[in-house]
């Protein structure tokens, strides 16, 4: 599948991977901004702004935006993470020009005061919805405790208090600072004519403001090493998250880190599966690797009966310590690799998956990576590379957060930084 790239005079980057036999076309606007780019008094603004982008422009009301997307049968949405805000749509190829017109238009939103006030209520509902989901709440708090003063610990949603005090003027200032052309990349994949695509992007986005961009606080962290118990009496199960440092998104060790996390905590046939789930000790146990700009982290989690949380935590720590000391076996590495290769192949079969994949590699690795590049990268991971990950990022040096009915959970002797 051919790859193309082009940069507009204002700094907007365009990339694409074309596949004429695809039945659809996917495109995404990747704004290089997230919760980590917020100042203290802007907490939650990135995600709130993502919502406001859909609330209209001088040419369209909020209702027009929804109707225009629906008229072309677009499968569209947006998400905000710690460091990216992505607006995306998959459409039938003949509707690509309309999809570009829409996405480009809404990325210069009016931010009308009455829409701002109405959407505040929706954001506060969204926060309430997540507060009622303990596993999600545990993740959010684990990040806060682990990253501590590191900007990656900033809350994505914010709090009802921070959202309530946020003003339209603050949001507008944030928008002007972060949504400048050089801070945005457009990615497309599937059935499209590249030259024509560049033309319509130029026509719709060529006038966007230039500006200086940057990101502060890009650095690694080992985490705070703290052990925190949050007591929520109305919660049934105890939800526990252990975080440890991992390689950042541009590290050559990231594929090894991915495979390592699968061997430890994939939902079938992993160390944690056999230690906790198979014997029925905890109803879920998981380990996953998250890569960020400048830092990475392993998230190990489990949930189960509160009375057994101390026992389960000791088992998880034992697994992590054994992996730290003895590594994983060749058989475990192969097993993880076979699973991941199949996921990469399947994830690449739809334009939506490819658009997201090329967009993320451009964002983090500043390069185009084909499906075969990714397959080769996983195929070439060896046990010494896994050992290297563990030596640089000890997986048993954890920061722990427990959320559930327990008033206290004894701190295991082995917990924390060595």
């Amino acid at each position: 599948m051919p790859f193309h790239s082009h940069q507009l005079a204002n700094g907007l980057q365009i990339i694409g991977e074309t596949s004429p036999s695809a039945r659809s076309t996917a495109l995404g606007f990747f704004v290089h901004t997230g919760a980590r780019d917020e100042t203290l008094d802007e907490c939650g603004v990135t995600h709130f702004l993502e919502h406001m982008v859909f609330k209209g422009t001088p040419r369209r009301t909020a209702l027009d935006v929804n109707r225009d997307f629906d008229k072309i049968g677009a499968d569209y949405n947006a998400f905000t993470s710690e460091e990216n805000t992505v607006f995306h749509a998959a459409v039938l190829p003949e509707y690509l020009p309309q999809a570009v017109d829409l996405l480009a238009d809404i990325l210069r939103p009016s931010l009308r005061e009455e829409d701002f006030d109405m959407e505040k209520k929706v954001i506060i509902e969204e926060i309430g919805m997540y507060e009622d989901q303990p596993m999600w709440s545990a993740y959010d708090n684990a990040k806060r405790v682990y990253f501590a003063e590191h900007k990656l610990g900033n809350s994505i949603l914010g709090t009802p208090a921070s959202i309530t005090t946020l003003t339209r003027a603050q949001m507008h200032a944030y928008f002007q600072r972060r949504y400048v052309a050089p801070n945005i990349m457009v990615a497309a994949a599937g059935n499209l004519d590249w030259a024509r695509f560049v033309d319509i992007i130029e026509k719709n986005c060529g006038h966007w403001e230039k500006g200086s961009i940057g990101r502060e606080g890009v650095r690694e962290t080992r985490g705070s090493g703290r052990f925190e118990v949050m007591t929520k009496e109305k919660v049934m199960q105890e939800h526990v998250i252990l975080m440890a440092s991992g390689p950042p998104a541009d590290s050559p060790l990231r594929h090894a880190a991915d495979l390592l996390s699968m061997a430890i905590g994939d939902d079938s046939g992993s160390r944690l599966y056999w230690a906790l789930v198979d014997p029925g000790l905890a109803d879920s146990a998981d380990c996953s690797f998250h890569e960020y700009e400048g830092a990475g982290a392993f998230y190990t989690s489990f949930s189960g009966e509160p009375e057994q949380a101390e026992r389960d935590l000791a088992i998880v720590l034992k697994v992590l310590r054994e992996v730290q000391q003895g590594g994983i076996t060749e058989e475990e590495l192969n097993q993880a690799r076979n699973k991941i290769l199949s996921r990469v192949v399947r994830g690449s079969e739809r334009p939506k998956g490819r658009m997201m994949a090329i967009g993320m590699s451009w964002t983090y690795q500043h390069e185009y990576r084909s499906v075969d590049d990714d397959l080769r990268a996983y195929e070439s991971v060896t046990l010494p590379a896994i050992r290297q990950v563990l030596e640089r990022y000890p997986i048993d040096q954890v920061t722990t957060l427990a959320l559930g009915p327990l008033a206290k959970l004894p701190t295991p002797a082995v917990n924390g930084l060595r």
């Binding site: 659809s24 509902e125 309430g128 009622d132 049934m236 192949v345």
Partner: protein
């Protein structure tokens, strides 16, 4: 471009369906075994889910570990899930590994060990799953809604209950397997880059000599009370509403689907517009259509902070009751665009195709062609949808809420 769809029913009643998708490297397999939780004996609610977990803990010549390792090494992403009518075995991987996966699934379905020594662990997991539901209020309200809409056993949830799970023994689970796992009625669908001839030969070899029929009749209890409130200390009150619709296969089916899509299905639809966009009452609100063979329902969900939940329910019911007043041409145009686009995009997904093949066969006894569905979508008009909603107006609502305080019904 017409997809290549194949079908064969073996003399023992097992049906194989396949769709060849040349442009992909992967394939998905999907077994529907008529062994859903509707067949759970009343004192053993949860047995289907326990069986679905135990069944992969050793089969044929492999013990539990060897079986998991073999499936993992095929790169199979898989799930064993229990629905109302079926237990589903689903697996996706690169197409060249499908034949080896099928060999293992033949062992799992026909020759599981169902070992006594694993029963306690599986029961412990089932009990935790049940407790976990208490930490998932959105799922909880829908489980309760089902209980107050359908008579038992159509209201069964795969999680069962604590009493039913504690009543289970290895022998009881093995008996349920002997009772329900028979080739008659099993649907196996495979979609992706596969060869029909060799697939047919292999499935014939693996399952052709299997015989037997499940004897499983369903007798329904009286209709439950259609109003309930469950008190729970939450930030948001969870609201579930259900009402009757027409099943798939009914002459009105596409009109019914169109009507639900006018309510919900995209962001300009009525519930999202009136409840979230105009009043900011909630983050999540939706309605969806769910069918059984002989009946169907529409379920609606909304979650709002407690002090605003009453208003959310009022607006939701207002919009449902307003539907028979008619729908606008522009609304129908958007519904058609959304349905057509998802129909076409589904052709890119081996998982989506495998599920559709099996579901068409179960409900309709045939696989609908792309052209047939497209024509039916094109045929949706304000008149056809209007006629349907006047014939079957939303009403006689089942309403279930979960939160600190009950709500009032207008």
């Amino acid at each position: 471009m017409q997809p290549e769809v194949y079908q064969h029913t073996f003399p023992n009643g097992l049906t194989l369906l396949a769709e060849r998708m040349e442009h992909v490297r992967s394939a998905t397999l999907n077994f529907l075994v008529p062994a859903g939780c509707v067949y759970d004996p009343p004192n053993q609610l949860g047995i289907a889910a326990v069986l679905a977990d135990l069944i992969t803990r050793g089969a044929g010549s492999r013990d539990s570990r060897a079986l998991t390792l073999a499936l993992d090494n095929l790169g199979l992403d898989r799930s064993e899930s229990v629905g109302l009518m079926h237990t589903r075995f689903w697996g996706a991987t690169v197409a060249r590994n499908i034949p080896a996966a099928l060999e293992i699934y033949a062992d799992i379905l026909r020759r599981p060990h169902l070992p006594d020594q694993e029963v306690d662990a599986v029961k412990a997991l089932a009990l935790q799953d049940l407790r976990g539901l208490e930490d998932e209020p959105r799922a909880k309200v829908l489980v309760e809604l089902r209980k107050h809409y359908y008579p038992a056993p159509l209201s069964n949830d795969h999680r069962g209950n604590a009493e039913g799970i504690s009543n289970l023994t290895g022998e009881r689970v093995r008996r349920q397997h002997r009772r329900l796992f028979h080739p008659a009625g099993i649907i196996l669908s495979v979609a992706g880059n596969i060869e029909w001839r060799s697939l047919l030969d292999q499935v014939g070899r693996l399952f052709g000599d299997w015989s037997g029929n499940a004897e499983a009749a369903i007798r329904c209890a009286p209709q439950p009370d259609n109003r309930a409130h469950i008190t729970k200390d939450l930030e948001q009150t969870q609201i579930g509403v259900a009402y009757d619709s027409v099943p798939i296969g009914d002459a009105d089916y596409y009109a019914a689907l169109g009507a639900v899509n006018v309510l919900s299905g995209n962001m300009s639809s009525r519930l999202f517009t009136e409840i979230r966009e105009k009043e900011g009452l909630c983050y999540s609100v939706w309605a969806t259509y769910q069918t059984l063979k002989d009946r169907a329902r529409v379920i609606c969900y909304a979650g709002s902070r407690n002090e605003r939940a009453q208003r959310t329910l009022d607006v939701l019911l207002r919009e449902l009751r307003r539907l028979p007043e008619g729908v606008e041409a522009e609304e129908v145009e958007r519904v058609r665009a959304g349905l057509k686009s998802s129909l076409i995009m589904q052709q890119e997904s081996t998982g989506g195709r495998a599920l559709s093949l099996a579901s068409d066969w179960y409900y309709l006894g045939r696989v609908r062609s792309f052209d047939e569905i497209q024509a039916a979508i094109d045929g949706l008009t304000p008149e056809s949808i209007g006629k349907h909603v006047r014939r079957c107006p939303p009403g006689d609502f089942t309403i279930v809420t979960l939160g600190p305080k009950p709500l009032e019904y207008v």
